[in-house]
Assembly symmetry: C2
Amino acid sequence: MAETYRVGLLGHGTVGAAFEQLLAERADAIAHITGVRPEVTGVLTRSRGDFEEILAGSDLVVELIGGIDPARDYVLRAMRAGKHVVSANKLLLASHGEELWSTAREHNVQLRFEGAVAGVVPVIRVLQETLAGAHVERIHGIVNGTTNFILSEMARGGTAYADALKRAQELGYAEADPTDDVTGKDAAAKMAILARLAFSTPVTLDQVTYEGIEHITGEDMNYARDFGLALKLIGTAERVDDGISVRVHPAFLYPGHPLASVNGSFNAVTVESEAITEITLSGPGAGGPQTASAVIGDVISAMIPPASTPETTASLPVVADVKSAFYLAMEVDDEPGVLAQVAEVLGMQGASIKSVVQRGLGGQARLVMVIHPLLESRFYGAVQLLARMPFVRSEPRAIRVLDEEFND
Amino acid sequence: MAETYRVGLLGHGTVGAAFEQLLAERADAIAHITGVRPEVTGVLTRSRGDFEEILAGSDLVVELIGGIDPARDYVLRAMRAGKHVVSANKLLLASHGEELWSTAREHNVQLRFEGAVAGVVPVIRVLQETLAGAHVERIHGIVNGTTNFILSEMARGGTAYADALKRAQELGYAEADPTDDVTGKDAAAKMAILARLAFSTPVTLDQVTYEGIEHITGEDMNYARDFGLALKLIGTAERVDDGISVRVHPAFLYPGHPLASVNGSFNAVTVESEAITEITLSGPGAGGPQTASAVIGDVISAMIPPASTPETTASLPVVADVKSAFYLAMEVDDEPGVLAQVAEVLGMQGASIKSVVQRGLGGQARLVMVIHPLLESRFYGAVQLLARMPFVRSEPRAIRVLDEEFND
């Protein structure tokens, strides 16, 4: 039985509860990686728990209270007591980051905060580790899922802002009081943190210019479509002359931009640097389990620096025959009943047609289909049968089609 | 003056040379982060250097020779001598990974290999750290830039495979002997590594089924467009029943798929897990400076585990007035000469029109424009002037447009 690594949890809202559950589920796997088994040994909420007691009984403290007070005091006291801290508190880091980071350095503890920006999208880790040696020129980000959901709704159906906001609230993507999201303040706090890491210069929330999406109309969206533009709430942190600019505002994107196709409540960040051109990271930006996953990644890193790849824990068989959807093309005699016979042969092997295009080519026709997913062995069985049919005039051509569900 | 951290470099091809240059350029910044200053203290090529001597004079060894022999022997000997190793050698890791990783564990050294898969796209780090506690269900990847470039060329211009390959060779995206790329073998090695990390089960290159792109025709591409499909060489690693499937083959993607819009020589990887839904990472997959950047990220991580956020090194001014492109919409009298007058007012402030749409609405017209980038203060100056013009019938509406260059 592995030794216990004691985690004190401050805050038990959506993310806190998801974190406690996910940590319990994954404790064995984490024990395999780190050699010690993490366990929540104390929880502080408004109505239960005592901070001093939890602190004394923890190796690491996870702060998921949010806001400045009392989170700031707890985080400082935990680090001064020599405990690593993992936090997802963007407001705290964007307002008091230097105080917190200098306390962490002074007491030689880790302060990790992947969950504070873009949930499980690993932008903090990438800036601090992958790109630690890079000279970052610019960051663009969609770092607020609520506003991206609202703008995606408006673009999709020509929906008015107020209706899209209401729908976001109904679906749980926006809070009852959405002010911090729709005014751009939440995104501004996140951009302050990213700018601080990318440029190694102090940046606080009050230095970030921000503008929200409340004034955007459905008509703007419609006209923009004439230019092929997509509207997003974009955070920018970039070098400008001898300084930097950090700002958040709605902006139209041309279709080739890596952030133009980021829709719904997803977040995405693009980091540009001369040596690397650009990298883009995207994924679900918020939600309990997603942010909790980011917090767990931080807890594992704090538990033990990943020295190497752990031993394998399984010896899974590598399977050869899997289910795939297929594109299938062949030349056939241009006669009545051919498509029906093709469908019948396919059906015998359990293959069903999703879409079909037939085009005449003189006495022949080219038949191109997309086939719903089935075991590849069954599909290739059908293709062999088809190749022998008298009305088939060319070797059938088959290419897999991925993830039909994305189009459903 | 910071202490020197001695890096032994094995191999001095495109990536090796780029690494040596980039490390020298960034040495001061890295010294700030880690407290020690990295320096290449020995280089081994076919014609110069002695391995034993380089090993004795290094704290860490970077292996950029490629291939199995003698790279395997060098990496093993370095780790047995207690040195951390950073490698970008996908073939070595996909063929002898378990031997290397167990040697690393045994001698308590780090073996890092971000550059082996998808260049600077941080998929290794994300699997090993961010998602260390996650139960990964599936990985999809475009992990070979050469074939993605060729397929993008074929899709763009209806170019034949042979012509697109020739163009890739001329531009340096494909080697003179492109066999490993176009047959899918290179991608298969990378998917073996990703599957090993994601599923903690041994996977070697010889267990990966792969199929290349040599048989793809321009006609396949044209017909697929009727279904809205994009063709990519896709690597898949996924759980199937009680085993896993690891394979590489061409596949069509529906337009909503996160990999469908990854074009040219870019790489991208999507990781799916129940708790996180999915995250997507994309960026330049190959090239000397890009892979060298990934190697440097690994070197920094090996030098010192990132305990915390370093002190700021700069105190850059936060600039308020930046250049932006704008969308500008307003209602105007539907009279001759109005557009000319609008253009003149804009021009007085240095604003020039990139695109314009004018639509009649009874006696009025709606004028919608995209304006080329200019200082925001100048643009808003022009808007104030326009608002006062007698033919302007509504408050002008301005929204920023990002990165015009993506559409040029």
